[in-house]
Symmetry: C2
């Protein structure tokens, strides 16, 4: 495992403010790692609502199944996250393990197990020994404090090279409300896969339904428009919690997603998701370049998305970016294989604003030296203009380097 921080890590880390109604604590439970924290307990005051979106995998982890079933209640008091073991592909013991973890947490917090949410990331196929949480969670519940955000973001890391946090403060009605978020991204632990976990907290008084609507709409152009290697973890989890504490300062209670007072909040919420998902791309395994794929002139947005994903997931495009090569031929290939409407002779392709191809052939003004220079930048934008319609979309990814292969293939050698 590399310990060097990704060269794409954001230079500035925000100060994370308190969210009234949320307390955090972390511990080293020795689930797999030595000498680092691996359990996060988040405590939420009574009245906290919850929403979630999860992996689309047909083989989800036990914690994903646990959370999906508990979401119906709409209320949450505790979130337990562990790194080191994903509790995935663990058969019936996996289910028993989530139930035991929730039981230990519910006792520690003094709430129903149906108000306990769980997420696990790490090795898969190994039974998770939930008895390790016994004692630990009770102690965490006692020591939890409101100002523990960076520690929390660190406790959920696996091979992430930096903790990922974002925060925003906006007006809801006339009151100030705060949104904090954290994420862990494309790391892997042998023998495991990349798993994305993210948790958002706010003191805004939002119903569970409103929160779910915000989340569902919010991920569409952020976490769902992100790919590292096209592989989908069995454990991907994004949960949002709203304590409602800002109601005490006069924030209006929002129970309809269409409420016009939500406008600024929605925008800030979306920005938090955008920031966290971009940070995940910046910490892609072995990543040396952040890659933004923009497809415009498509017949529909889903069509633009599919083409953008085809480009973003193409190993040949990703290795070209790693080689600082403005290889538009591979971009044409990826457009062509997407199966969506495309006309070779109308295609234009730019790298970082420099058009290299137009009308299905090399741009007459193409200047190899100028393009080569531009490809040295740490952020590369590939823009494809299809010339068919008015729809556009955007996807984030990273390059494919030898380090990716080393991280994912070398550890047995």
């Amino acid at each position: 495992m590399s310990t060097a921080v990704s060269p794409l890590a954001p230079p500035d880390v925000p100060e994370m403010p308190v969210i009234t109604g949320v307390r955090l604590a972390t511990a080293a439970a020795g689930i797999r790692y030595k000498g680092r924290t691996d359990v996060l307990l988040a405590l939420m005051d009574k009245g906290t609502t919850v929403a979630g979106v999860f992996t689309k995998s047909k083989c989800p982890s036990a914690p994903v199944e646990w959370c999906r079933a508990r979401l119906k209640g709409g209320s949450a008091r505790a979130l337990v996250v562990n790194s080191g073991n994903a509790n995935a592909f663990t058969g019936k013991t996996g289910k028993a393990s989530t139930a035991l973890t929730a039981q230990i947490a519910s006792k520690a917090v003094g709430c129903s197990t149906s108000d306990v949410f769980l997420a696990s990331t790490g090795v898969i196929g190994e039974p998770l020994d939930a008895t390790k949480f016994d004692g630990v969670l009770a102690q965490l519940a006692e020591t939890a404090t409101p100002d523990h955000w960076m520690d929390a973001a660190k406790a959920i890391m696996t091979t992430d090279t930096f903790p990922k946090v974002a925060t925003a403060t906006v007006k809801l009605g006339k009151a100030k409300v705060t949104i904090n978020g954290m994420a862990k991204g494309a790391g892997m632990i042998m023998p495991d896969m990349a798993t994305m976990l993210s948790f958002i907290f706010t003191d805004a008084p939002l119903s569970a339904g409103v929160l779910q609507s915000l989340l569902k709409a919010g991920v569409e152009d952020t976490f769902n428009a992100l790919t590292i290697d096209g592989d989908t973890s069995t454990s991907d989890t994004l949960l949002a919690f709203a304590t409602g504490a800002a109601a005490a300062n006069g924030a209006p209670k929002i129970s309809r997603a269409s409420d016009p007072r939500l406008k600024a909040f929605t925008k800030a919420f979306q920005q938090i998701l955008a920031s966290l998902s971009e940070q995940v791309a910046r910490d892609g395994e072995g990543a040396r370049k952040l890659v933004e794929v923009v497809v415009e002139g498509a017949t529909t947005k889903p069509s633009a998305r599919k083409i953008a994903m085809s480009i973003a997931n193409s190993p040949l495009v990703k290795t070209a970016i790693a080689g600082e090569d403005a290889n538009w031929g591979r971009v044409v290939m990826a457009v062509g294989k997407a199966g969506e409407p495309a006309n070779r002779d109308k295609l234009s392709i730019s790298f970082n604003g420099i058009r290299v191809a137009r009308s299905g052939a090399r741009d007459p003004s193409y200047n190899e030296k100028e393009v080569s220079e531009a490809m040295k930048a740490p952020k590369i934008q590939i823009k494809v203009a299809l010339g068919l319609g008015k729809a556009k979309d955007r996807v984030l990814t990273c390059d494919l380097t030898k380090e990716y292969v080393a991280i994912n293939g070398d550890y047995r050698s």
Copy 2:
């Protein structure tokens, strides 16, 4: 570019017999390479029928469009293949270039341009100067001989590390007929992509319709069940030619695909396609392991194919194989993301016959040492039993190594 022959190259190369009615010649036209042949001319006697299947790319190369349009005629007299330039993404000049090449060939051979078939592989986005064929093709037409098969297979190589040929002789009626095939596989030339070209020749008297049926059915479980990196070239071309010369020896003329006399021929034809497509997998860029993914117990064959392809294209699975790691967790992940019916708790997974997981958890008999030893083999079979139905399918691929990234990403550095 590496010049070392893939460690997965077949140890034995067959003697390629003559196909009556086919003559071959190669030349060094200097299209891109120095010191090697880069043009193949195949001449077919009058009465030769033709069939073809092509890339599904929405942005096909000019030669693909040329061949598609000419297939309707059903007859062929000449095939011109060049390496070094793919004549893809070359706009209107690409179309003009195919027309000029066909014109030069038709003069050299003395046939209609509608009987000329073309394939190009190599750099894309560069205009192909078809005037380079002037003179060359006329000379090739004069010097063509029936026994030039290995030279032909070499002339169409790009970054292939070995020429790919296969041959079979079977009875059609009471007469002996022969099938010869050649292919070039997943190579790339800067700035280009992998392109698969394959050409099959037989002296069997088959109508164009029969040949097309054989080809369409034959690729389904061979070339279409093959993936190197999930990327689809704009130039993939597979053409089959039947000279009918064996009719002189008493071979029956076959004009219906359902003709029972075709049985042995169909089997041999399929074996040629299987051999060539496996050779392409064995020469995947940077490949060190041939990987066979078998999915059984699926609800339908297309569902099994989709799951097998999801596994075969997963960078995490492919890097694990490169690392000789029987990482069944990543296989579960790839099953889950395929979106097809799957039940985590019914899954069984084996590597080279050793079951590592069953009923959605690690196999109790799992022996790390035994599995690790098995993973050192040059051919790895991943078998997934879904436990849902009776359908099965199989896909071939190779591992993902640092050499793949080096071949595709390093050349600018």
